[in-house]
Point group: C2
Chain length 159, copies 2
């Protein structure tokens, strides 16, 4: 996998996160890629939907499964601006996504005020014996900067 | 908390699981209780909805948040026929549910063919430093028997 290709998809996830910030949502974006095409793109929708499970990754998985007509997303990659929390990481496992690439860390989200479980995605995969592959730190500085952009916008609170 | 009270709510979760089995869904049921009233009752809906995240607990949380008009379910208890998987356990944390009571274990679901992460709910809470309280083994034999009832019904596959 080339760095340029990964950065291309991560930039799409960053665009989604910025759309979320503009819409008064939390600063997280996600893209699920099938081959060389985006299957689903989403930002966090917790405030918009009133659903505490509507993180960017969960929202993208639901959309991707609906579009593909299959609860298995085997063969897909998932790009997320932030390290998946245990809920999202386990949802990615259930959806059988092959590979995850992320930017900022769970600790960055916790520092911004989110009520994070302090369990790294890599550790969850290891303890749970999951086959999902994980790659950290793609465009990490830009992804981390989303938290500052969200705070400056002042349109929604952490939860 | 009295055992009779806990068994009362667990029996409601078992009824939900059996409704799911009859409807060709997977054998998991959940009830979220606010005070002495059921706020949301659900069975697993993964096959019905084509949504790999539609476990019983996630489905019940979405419904409870919608009904209460609040992404926080602080003060509520959640009864689940099976130990919550890491996705559901983390969703319960995000929803700020106070306390979880469950029956069968993740290992029972894995033995029935489900693609479980091998991470106990208690260990996730400990590693993640979650305040959610957890109680295992309520009506465990009846909850475990749901897997056999589901296999005998032969209406849906594990995933």
């Amino acid at each position: 996998m080339s760095a340029a290709r990964e950065e291309h998809w991560m930039r799409a996830a960053i665009v989604a996160a910025r759309q979320g910030i503009a819409a008064g949502q939390s600063p997280f974006g996600c893209v699920i890629v099938s081959g060389e095409a985006p299957l689903a793109t989403a930002h966090n929708q917790v405030w918009a939907s009133g659903d505490p499970t509507a993180h960017a990754e969960i929202t993208a998985i639901r959309l991707a499964a609906q579009r593909s007509g299959d609860i298995s997303l085997a063969g897909c990659e998932l790009y997320s601006t932030c390290e998946p929390c245990p809920m999202c990481m386990a949802a990615i496992h259930w959806a059988r996504v092959d590979r995850v690439v992320y930017g900022a860390a769970i600790a960055d989200a916790a520092a911004a005020g989110f009520h994070e479980l302090t369990l790294p995605a890599a550790r969850l995969l290891e303890l749970g014996r999951s086959p999902v592959r994980l790659e950290a730190g793609c465009l990490a500085a830009e992804c981390r900067a989303l938290f500052g952009e969200w705070q400056a916008a002042g349109k929604s609170a952490a939860y």
